[in-house]
């Protein structure tokens, strides 16, 4: 297992500004969702990506058209980083007909196949074998696409991870497993739920190379992911990245945070990934007002998305009649 930290990388300022924008979009989107729940405007539950923005943003920046991802219950950030449509996302969260899934899916079931998102998943770990299957499809067709399988730390203890990892390894499939180690699976601390020092240590048991990276530093994430993606695309088989990160908010809307301390949260917040990138950009001589403007634009964009969603119609009940079985294969959007 290698460990990479804060390496200097050949990132252009334009790219870094893009990331800055994406991370703000993710954060603002999820802050807005948080508020909506607090106001009782959304039903169901949701899992916010706030604090973890550098992971999705940095990893997805390394992908090429045709690559795909599988996402998780904490999936808004992944879809936004992929360039997903925040209006359709917001509408989905509000259960509207204009949502990604016409309101059928909600927060945990957003997918955007057109951009390579094979789907968020309400079942912990369940996306991993699916990711492996997508990679198998690419490999069988001799395409050079690869799959990024996002997963939480907690999901690593599900049998699904195990079976997926082994399949990917023995068939040398183009999968990058990205473990978003945010220290907890709901209330279960990685310290209690694993008897190993680093989650990345688990990969060796499958013959999968692994790298641990500071998930609060988008440059490290990007660099690590780039190397992994390069190796995987060359046909060297799967790779596992453990991105060490933190979720600022409760696990879901109903979390009282009884299992961790305010102090701990505070300490991690001091390593905020957006602040980190902002400092870098400032060092590069970018005017702070320019950075504020970007943030402001994203605040606006999310507000517009919310407006769009609120103005959107509810789905009609009769849409359910034909919604269960596909009539033909593929995209029926």
């Amino acid at each position: 297992m290698q460990q990479i930290e804060n390496t200097t990388t050949p990132i252009t300022t334009a790219t870094a500004l893009d990331w800055y924008r994406t991370m703000h979009r993710i954060r603002r989107f999820d802050e807005t969702i948080d508020e909506l729940f607090a106001q009782g405007k959304v039903h169901g539950t949701t899992h916010l990506y706030i604090g973890e923005e550098a992971v999705a943003t940095g990893v997805i920046a390394t992908l090429e058209p045709g690559d795909v991802i599988t996402s998780t219950h904490r999936g808004h950030g992944h879809n936004i980083a992929l360039g997903g449509d925040i209006q359709a996302m917001m509408a989905e969260l509000l259960g509207r007909a204009t949502g990604y899934c016409h309101g059928v899916g909600g927060s945990m079931h957003i997918a955007d196949q057109s951009r390579g998102n094979l789907g968020a998943n309400g079942i912990v770990g369940a996306g991993l074998p699916i990711a492996v299957g997508a990679a198998l499809g690419f490999a069988m067709r001799h395409e050079s696409h690869l799959v990024v399988a996002f997963t939480g730390d907690g999901a690593l203890n599900e049998g699904a991870f195990h079976e997926a990892a082994n399949l990917a390894a023995i068939w040398r499939l183009p999968v990058v497993f990205v473990v978003e180690n945010n220290q907890y699976g709901m209330s279960g601390s990685v310290k209690e739920m694993f008897a190993i020092g680093h989650l990345a240590d688990r990969a060796a048991g499958y013959g999968i190379p692994a790298t641990m990276v500071d998930g609060m530093d988008i440059f490290s994430v990007w660099e690590t992911a780039s190397r992994a993606v390069e190796a995987v695309r060359k046909g060297q088989g799967p790779h596992l990245i453990e991105a060490v990160t933190y979720r600022y908010k409760g696990h879901s809307k109903s979390d009282a945070n009884r299992y961790r301390s305010r102090d701990e949260i505070q300490q991690w917040r001091q390593r905020d990934p957006i602040d980190h990138l902002r400092r870098y950009l400032a060092d590069q001589g970018i005017d702070p007002t320019e950075l504020d403007r970007i943030r402001q634009e994203e605040v606006q964009a999310v507000a517009q998305a919310l407006q769009y969603a609120e103005d959107s119609p509810w789905p009609e009940v009769r849409m359910l009649d034909d919604a269960v079985y596909a009539l033909e294969e593929g995209d029926h959007a």
Binding site: G44, T45, G122, G159, M186, G188, A323
Partner: protein, 331 residues
Amino acid sequence: MPEMTYAAAVRSAMEWEMAKDPRVFVMGEDIGVYGGAFGVTMGMVDRFGKDRVRDTPIAEEGIVGAGIGAALVGMRPIVEMQFSDFIMNAMDQVVNQAAKIHFMFGGRMSVPLVIRGPAGAGTGAAAQHSQSLEAWFHHVPGLKVVMPAFPDDARGLLLTAIRDPNPVLFYEHKLLYKIKGEVTESDEGVPLGRGLIRRYGTHATVVTYSLMVHRVLEAALQLEQKGWDVEVIDLRSLVPMDIPLVIESVKRTGRLAICHEAVGRGGIGGEIAARILESEAFDYLEAPLLRITGLNTPVPYSPPLESAFMPSVDRIAQSLATWLVHEGVSA
């Protein structure tokens, strides 16, 4: 008698047995300090410690299997599925192991294991967190299945389930957790396999269980306004199932309706219908069967869709009324 919520009643049964019987313990995801996703185990870890109120990794197959193993060496585990849907990850352990061990090994072993957790829709949790899967398990010989509708039954049936030498699936409906009722905190369990007539009536028998008991009773009040009097049976446990009670009732009313939240196709309504159709009650049947059930779709997220999925009081009342009118039952 103290009033308590359904969730508190479930907790009360667990605490009662744990205080009494050192073999009893609970394990599951986030049941300790977190108190469980629905707060059912809240505070229990403070009273009984982390050993007996055991937080587990996210590994349903592992923890159900561990429950079986612990049961085989003389413990009486209660395993919580955070959402009952997640039991799919443990299906082999539940069905190929727990349910069959007693039979398969010639009666030499038994698996006193309770698997409990929240079932059902209505909270906007969407397709993978809202299912009612009891039909699967009532099809599996060796399992018992319990689905109480009221706090007192929740407590009494859970006491009995914990004491049962067989694996018992105990489903709590999410929307019931907050309802309140009077509950005696006694040592007396409610026997499995005894339904209850929650309301007497003459025009039809409506068989139901879990959350739908409440909705059917409300619908029955609406019908009463219109002059119809339906009898409402709360099955309480599905395996064993109190079919004699249903037969008796149908013989009196001549009409059978069944209401459950689970998907209609292949739901438990079919089994109930078949049991009646093959019984002596057949000769008393004056009307076709009426099933009022969840739609034949996964559970959708959006509030109007999710509401449409579940039988509502209005849908139940309207379906019953239409049926009774069609059958020429004068109100």
